[in-house]
């Protein structure tokens, strides 16, 4: 396959994944509103379209048509750059995520279900998460507003603190798989179905727990959503943003949620492999062989998102000093102990 053909096919993959990702972001918002509504014993949005399914489209149209107000005292270049950084970092990390089975390939070993299969896929995701901090930091500072600055500083400090716990909790998985390549990590969990998933057979339940909490803090979601709590900080770092730029921050948050869910399913829940393993034989039809792993992957990501929304609807939020204390004093040492335990277990196996 020539370079030009490779570029064209990759471009098609990128376009498909981006469109699917943006639609998922929109419908994750709807999922959350309906689920939180049901937890609070009310219907969520249910008027627009059947079961409220057209609500995200209507919300998108509303965002586009709102007046775009830019306050006069802001530092314009960074004010305009910050939501772009936030949204692009949220969307870029999906490029190394494998959605489906790599055994279904196109001509010339072209991988259909992963945009780029790099040997350091996990580190790419961690790196892009680190860069995403700039979106929030620059948004708060450039807004020239004390509430925004405080909110963005708190949020950035929270993000960089929990990045540590996030990264350390993933080291146990990497130790077991022996590689940083996301495809190989998933394949190392696929021998016997649900029993060999890293969550159960790999004994990484502590790491999963740590990852879960660090992920909630990384995406600024309840119970760690102090930086955007309305009663505390009048919407924190996105106080001065309106219409499309605010929508970009909003989309970035939900896109981060989906990415974190994808990473969790790949590393802990077995990715695209079915929980039944080899008990149910793979159908011979190539079409099913391609679609069934994607179906399992989407199911697992959806269950992770369901957990996210469930926690948001149920738990109260942390106070800021409790939040920082929790991340540094409890989560990080626990993650280091997990690495120690995992390496001892692997050494004596």
């Amino acid at each position: 396959m020539t370079i030009l053909q490779f570029f064209l096919w990759s471009l098609i993959k990128v376009i498909v994944v981006t469109v699917v990702m943006l639609l998922s972001v929109a419908y994750t918002v709807l999922l959350e509103r309906k689920l939180v509504g049901r937890i609070q014993n009310r219907w969520g949005p249910s008027r627009v379209g059947p079961f409220g399914l057209l609500q995200p489209l209507v919300d998108g149209a509303k965002s586009f048509l709102k007046e775009d107000i830019i306050p006069s005292g802001v530092y314009r270049p960074l004010y305009l750059l910050a939501p772009i950084i936030a949204l692009s970092c949220a969307l870029i990390s999906i490029a190394v995520v494998p959605f489906g089975a790599p055994s279904v390939t196109g001509p010339g070993n072209f991988v259909f279900f992963q945009i780029s299969d790099v040997n350091i896929g996990l580190l790419v995701i961690l790196g892009i998460t680190s860069i995403g901090v700039y979106g929030i930091a620059l948004a708060g500072w450039s807004s020239n507003n004390k509430y925004s600055l405080l909110g963005s500083l708190r949020s950035s400090a929270q993000l960089i603190s929990y990045e540590l716990a996030l990264g350390l909790s993933l080291v146990g998985v990497v130790l077991r798989a022996g590689s940083l390549n996301l495809r190989e990590i998933v394949e190392s969990q696929s021998r016997h179905g649900i029993v060999t998933w890293n969550l159960f057979g790999g004994f990484q339940f502590v790491a999963f727990f740590i990852y879960l909490m660090a992920a909630y803090a990384e995406t600024n979601r309840s119970p760690f959503d102090l930086p955007e709590a309305e009663s505390e900080l009048t919407a924190g770092y996105h106080t001065e943003y309106s219409s499309m730029k605010f929508a970009m921050f909003f989309m970035a948050e939900y896109a981060n949620m989906i990415t974190v869910g994808c990473v969790a399913t790949m590393l802990f829940l077995g990715g695209w492999t079915s929980p039944f393993g080899n008990l149910i034989p793979m159908p011979q039809n190539i079409f099913f062989q391609a679609l069934l792993p994607i179906f399992w992957f989407v199911l697992k990501v959806l269950s992770f998102l369901f957990l996210y929304v469930w926690v948001r609807g149920t738990l109260p939020r942390f106070r800021y000093d409790q939040l920082m204390n929790f991340g540094w004093v409890y989560l990080m040492p626990l993650a280091i102990l997990n690495i120690l335990a995992t390496s001892l277990w692997l050494a004596y196996k």
């Binding site: 960074l78 350091i120 500072w141």
Partner: protein, 170 residues
Amino acid sequence: MHLIVFLVFAAFCLTGAVNLLLQTHPINSALSLIVVMTSLAVLYLLLGAEFLAAAQVIVYAGAIMVLFTFVVMLLNAGREERTRGSRSAMGVGFPAVVVLLALTTTVVLHIQGLGATAMQEGITSTQELSQVLFTKLLLPFEVTSVLILIAILGAVTLARPADAEKTVSK
């Protein structure tokens, strides 16, 4: 192909570095430096050092520059001014740097046997890197972790406000 990618990202590096010098507000200089660092990460990838490229993004662009950005945002010192000191520094600085650059360029262009690099060759896997790091160079690795611990202690002590000791000792 390789040459095009190299030229694009080398251009980004140089633009970022020159922009760091031309900007008056330190936050713009910080953002230019982030551009330089991520372009350098891509250049490391071209040279086959994939773990270092990831480490460059995670450590340098994602942590060290966040520190710089925080300090610029918190101190909020504002734009630079032209002073007498800056004019005399420019008078000495530019010629000195031109001499330095001429020297290094001459040395570089006279090195024999450098060869070239192509897309397919020599990707250093993380496994190779860690095999040397954790067996032959284990002592420097451990010393580095102690160094970082000392740096944390030093930074916390230096940046604490002076009257915090009175409330702590109670």
